[in-house]
């Protein structure tokens, strides 16, 4: 595979997120999602369906401007270089992707990412970006509360293992409840992609099997 140099867009998208998160007033009024003195221009949509549509549209805007695709939509090689593979939109790290061990750290170069930008290795081990689609292998079983608490606490489903780098939850935890609701509502509407993302791998030095020794890969038992 051809070596490609990517000047990552996360920094810019992170700034965009910050702007959105810190100055939501205009957008919130546009979508009619904040209370206060109503005017004809910012009045809430009349019907529940219209309100839901506005919520979903706002969620799409937040997802599109917050860098979610950068890691959760696998990259593919396009004519102009790596580009998001929108046929697998927000479906996370492809479960069938063969990955050799991540390259060893050299001096201060301690983080490595896959060509899809969905697998990231560093001192924390190897993390794989989550499937955010409403499939049962993705966020299907998650409630809004699970989703919001996961980002707010930095823990899986709000109570489990730590969410690992490079997920910038310390930024995203600043979303308001309304913004979480909008993002969640939008993510329920996108195409479901069946893709069971691997669990994170611990750092290489840590034992990974009950006996302490790494366990050899095994064929699926069933299914």
């Amino acid at each position: 595979m051809k070596l490609v140099l990517i000047i990552h867009s996360l920094y810019l998208s992170g700034l965009a997120l910050t702007l959105v998160a810190c100055h939501p007033d205009d957008k919130e009024k546009q979508w009619g999602l904040v209370s206060g003195a109503a005017t004809p221009a910012d009045a809430a949509p009349a019907s529940p369906e219209a309100r839901q549509a506005a919520l979903v549209e706002r969620g799409k805007h937040l997802v599109d401007t917050s860098g979610c695709h950068d890691c959760h939509t696998p990259f593919k090689m396009g004519a102009q270089g790596p580009e998001p593979d929108m046929s697998r939109m927000l479906s996370g790290h492809p479960e069938g992707m063969e990955l050799p061990p991540a390259p060893a750290a050299v001096g201060p170069w301690i983080v490595a990412s896959s060509a899809t930008n969905t697998a990231h290795a560093g001192p924390w081990g190897t993390s794989f970006t989550a499937n955010l689609t409403p499939d049962e292998t993705g966020l299907g079983p998650w409630t809004l509360e699970n989703f919001r608490q996961a980002i707010r606490t930095g823990r899986h489903m709000g109570r489990g293992r730590p969410i690992l780098p490079p997920m910038p939850y310390p930024v995203y935890k600043n979303f308001t409840d309304d913004e979480f609701a909008a993002i969640y509502a939008y993510l329920r509407t996108i195409p479901a992609v069946k893709n069971r993302v691997p669990d994170p791998l611990p750092p290489a030095a840590a034992p990974t099997a009950p006996g302490g020794a790494p366990k050899a890969p095994a064929a699926p038992k069933a299914g």
């Binding site: 990552h8 920094y11 560093g122 910038p168 669990d199």
Partner: protein
């Protein structure tokens, strides 16, 4: 991509060549990435994530002012602005009042104080494992109030109820305690946690870290205090949790109050002799019978001596351990209820079967290393069971519980493994059911 954390790239550290598919290189990591990275590195080093939300705690109202609202937790007192958390443990109501010479901050020792007369000790029969910490637990109800137990599995505590729990580890001497004292090996109090019910019905959580001389304990910042004290001779250090981490366990129980060790089953006079790390109940510690006798428990209609109904003493102890250590999150009514993983025990018949049906042969979203499919409990096969694996590791991305412990509970792991071995498989696994 390959990234670097410390300062500008040095000329003598060229970026390494890419090895497909690890090919993308990042010249400058975004700030947001570094923020998340720093937190996770902290976690990998075995320190608690500092996730506290500086939203401002609602301090407690004076006990006398909240008694009227105690009967109905949904009632919000007219003046519900609570006072800030006290700076010192000796100011929280755990200890008997002192004279002027012993006023807080005057040099009198909280550690030498007698408990307040309204404070009761209690000892749950299935204690939470905290890396072998020695614990003492206390409860204090506002005068004239009682616990509403008309819902047997969701006791309602009066506003103003306070719980405390001491955590002590063997004294490793001055190296970590900030003094020149030699190592004694005797338990030394490290922290005392406080949970308090506020006027609006919510609960607040705090911890107090003990001074090295054991005379006073001081309020820990909302972000917690990582590496506060050595965990015996394990080489690991105990973290005092952030308040966010407190909520991760204590607010996962749905309708149950977030006091995980204070239920009819946990306080039953019928103590499980095989419970891992069972503690001797002090003579003056209150139990279920004592609560009823003293009029502190209203409306309780359950058995006087509830106990887990199981096929064997080993099964009873295992189910009890899982109840005490896992059911705070894994239950039927909390935020994770949709997982269908339920370790809750009530002391009524049928509980064991309900728990077994939620784990035996049920496919896990977590997969054992190298496996494409794993089940929560594989009957008769502890090493093929995710439950056994996750309670038997302290790798931070795999361990259960996911926080609050850095040392495997070997006794309990062996007990649970033995119990899994004894389970007879009577039904095909869910994975097998899916196979055409």
């Amino acid at each position: 991509m390959l990234g670097t954390m410390d300062g500008p790239t040095r000329r003598d550290d060229p970026a390494p060549a890419a090895d497909p598919p690890w090919i993308s290189l990042v010249l400058a990591l975004p700030l947001v990435f570094l923020g998340a990275f720093g937190l996770a590195c902290t976690a990998v080093e075995g320190r608690a994530l500092l996730l506290g939300d500086d939203s401002g705690e609602a301090p407690p109202p004076p006990v006398a002012a909240v008694s009227a609202a105690a009967a109905d937790p949904t009632v919000v007192a007219a003046s519900s602005a609570p006072a800030p958390l006290p700076d010192l443990l000796s100011q929280t109501g755990l200890y008997a009042a002192r004279g002027a010479a012993g006023a807080p901050g005057s040099g009198a020792a909280a550690g030498a104080q007698e408990l307040h007369p309204d404070v009761f000790q209690f000892v749950p029969q299935y204690p939470l494992w905290t890396d072998g910490a020695t614990k003492r637990r206390y409860v204090r109800l506002p005068p004239g109030t009682s616990i509403d137990a008309s819902k047997p599995d969701a006791w309602v505590f009066p506003v103003g109820t306070r719980f405390w729990k001491d955590f002590a580890f063997p004294d490793e001497g001055g190296a970590h305690a900030g003094s020149s004292a030699p190592r004694s090996g005797a338990p030394r109090k490290v922290e005392t946690r406080l949970i308090e019910r506020l006027a609006d019905g919510s609960w607040r959580f705090a911890s107090y870290v003990w001074d090295a001389d054991g005379r006073e304990a001081r309020l820990v910042p909302e972000g917690g205090l990582p590496n506060a004290a050595p965990i015996g001779e394990t080489g690991r250090l105990h973290d005092i949790p952030s308040r966010g981490d407190c909520l991760a366990c204590h607010e996962g129980a749905g309708a149950r109050a977030p006091i995980l060790g204070f239920t009819a089953l946990q306080l039953s006079p019928d103590r499980d002799a095989l419970a891992p790390h069972a503690e001797v109940k002090a003579a003056d510690a209150i139990d279920l019978e004592g609560l009823v006798r003293r009029g502190l428990l209203e409306g309780y209609v359950g058995p006087a001596r509830p106990g887990i109904v199981a096929e064997s003493p080993e099964a009873r102890a295992s189910l009890g351990y899982l109840h005490g250590n896992c059911s705070g999150c894994h239950n039927r009514g909390g935020p994770l209820a949709d997982l269908g993983l339920d370790f809750e025990q009530t002391g009524r018949p049928g509980d064991a079967e309900r728990v077994l049906s939620s784990v035996v042969g049920v496919e896990s979203r977590f997969r054992l290393p190298g496996e494409q499919h794993s089940v929560r409990v594989s009957a008769g096969e502890p090493l093929e069971s995710v439950l056994r694996f996750r309670i038997g590791t302290r790798n931070i991305v795999q361990q259960m519980p996911p926080l609050g412990s850095k040392v495997v509970d070997q006794e309990a792991t062996e007990l649970v493994a033995s119990w899994i071995e004894s389970i007879v498989n009577e039904a095909p696994t869910s994975a097998e059911k899916e196979t055409p």
